[in-house]
Symmetry: C2
Subunit: 331 residues, 2 copies
């Protein structure tokens, strides 16, 4: 069996390109309707470089449930707006200076602009879906608002972890289920909701999205420690420097006999040598493998949710390809 750790470099699924092409004019039209004072910051943030995974899930979700990809477009735009709202605010909270190799909005335009540019995106996502208040679009707006609230709650948990002494693996997974899983799950089911698919189809797609979100986040946590800065666009080791309780750290602390020593290293002053020592200790105690195994389990759960949904075959295969792509270790 090919595990995610040893899988070959995966091809970019074609749907990511198609979603990007569908999305670009719709997002541009959305920004045009927002406050002129916020548009430079929004255009800076939304400039090329994003993969539009959530948008791709939304359009595939519509097609997999028997509609067209265009049917999923309002949902695709709405989830991308919410995703970017969260990035704008999280970058302030995390003090991150760079995203996709460019300055973050708060770093380039100030904290105030980043706060209200994010606010504007989140509210516009709701407006967009409620503009034509058909029952499926109203349902989509309600599901999106709920997922956004769960994402915010996950972010709040993540922040609380910073001052919390012990964080269990379950607590960490619950946090990531909210912070990442909720919106991915929403994206994966929103297209089906927009084409008024039956509840079991919607639920199976939401389930696929929840597990995919967790698998994706586990891989992201791995890349935050062992990734290639030039590929990820994020400074490696940042999570450790910020003493973030990510999955590899939490799994290591739960398992290692030498957890006390590891904790002292992680909590200490992480200069270059300290960072290298922390990374080595995490690797030695199996945190890297454990996290990869967890990512694999959630990837398999996501794929099995797809199998039981009774979806249109072509789009279902593409949903599988997206899942394999975003959880590949070499993104």
């Amino acid at each position: 069996m090919t595990s995610a750790l040893t899988a070959p470099r995966s091809e970019v699924p074609a749907v990511l390109g198609r979603a990007g092409v569908l999305l670009a004019p719709a997002v541009e039209a959305a920004v045009d309707r927002l406050s002129p004072e916020l548009q430079p910051a929004l255009r800076h943030h939304l400039a090329p470089g994003a993969k539009h995974v959530r948008a791709a899930l939304a359009v595939l979700s519509a097609a997999a449930a028997g509609g067209s990809e265009e049917d999923g477009l309002p949902g695709a735009v709405a989830v991308e707006l919410v995703h970017n709202f969260s990035l704008l605010h999280d970058d302030i909270i995390d003090g991150d200076l760079e995203r996709r190799h460019r300055p973050t909005v708060w770093a380039a335009f100030g904290c105030g602009q980043a706060i209200i540019a994010g606010d504007a995106l989140a509210m516009f996502a709701v407006q967009l879906l409620l503009e034509e208040p058909t029952p499926p679009r109203v349902r989509a707006a309600a599901v999106l608002a709920e997922a956004t609230q769960a994402m915010i709650a996950g972010q709040a948990q993540d922040m609380a972890f910073e001052t919390q002494g012990e964080v269990s693996a379950d607590e960490c997974l619950a946090m990531e289920r909210g912070k990442t899983g909720a919106l991915v799950s929403c994206a994966a089911s929103l297209g089906a909701i927009l084409v008024a698919a039956p509840p079991p189809v919607v639920h199976a797609l939401a389930d696929y999205g929840t597990h995919l979100g967790l698998a994706f986040q586990a891989v992201d946590d791995l890349l935050g420690i062992w990734g290639d800065r030039h590929r990820t666009g994020k400074p490696v080791g940042n999570d450790l420097l910020q003493h973030k309780k990510t999955l590899p750290v939490v799994l290591a602390l739960a398992r290692d006999d030498r957890a006390g020593r590891l904790r002292r290293v992680l909590e200490g002053d992480l200069d270059a040598a300290g960072l290298a020592r922390a990374v080595a200790m995490l690797e030695e105690c199996g945190a890297r493998e454990d996290t990869a195994a967890l990512a694999d389990r959630h990837l398999q759960a996501a794929l099995s949710a797809l199998d039981r949904a009774g979806l249109v075959a072509g789009p279902a295969a593409e949903l599988e390809a997206v899942a394999r792509f975003v959880t590949a270790r070499d993104r």
Copy 2:
């Protein structure tokens, strides 16, 4: 004629108390459903001291359109949540350390908590209205989202004024129409929307709210310069110290022959003596009277909108009382 400048100290309208009583358990129930990690910050922010003017408008709006005050309650809760979202974020942006004589959330709990606590409130307002997706509630959610977007745009304009050389009175009014007027207008019409009132009634109430918002903001700008710190709970002169282009300042600069001198004083280093000189110059050139006259004009426009709406008499009289109260100079 009694002008707002010379009006006697006004009685607190009974509806503010009633709205507070209706609102308290509903807001408490809303907070209970939000992230546990955000609840301490939210409870700190929502502690007693608020006047619940927007909630009062929403419940009166339902009664004035022929429903009960309780019919307006979901709207009242939603506008109060959105209002408090804006306060949480604006306090960060303005760097304000105190609100209602207590530390602001960002000052007491950190910037990150204040950002996402605000995010949670805004999104929950939408969730609350969409929970029972009847046509009036869906309409209310759409109107609220639109008003929130207009409020955000007003805030963006206000921020842009700080680096903009000249700000005309019209630009300033357009900004305040968004920043304050949009949500007050939404509050004043949301109850009527929830009881499915005919469009002319909804529009007249929205119009009342827009003018009331502008009158209220003009008075707020006056109090920011000439108010009593112990009554307002805000440091007097703060707006001038932050070089904010509020109505009195913009009107003074548009009118005064000595605008150049005034501009230099306002833009200079405002120590205690400089602040006193700036306040005196604004008073001398008539900025205080001009702003009060503008507040009066908008109060009258608000009351005449009420007259033409064909409302139930009792609640309409209370809407008038609220308008007179919140624009009285001695709040």
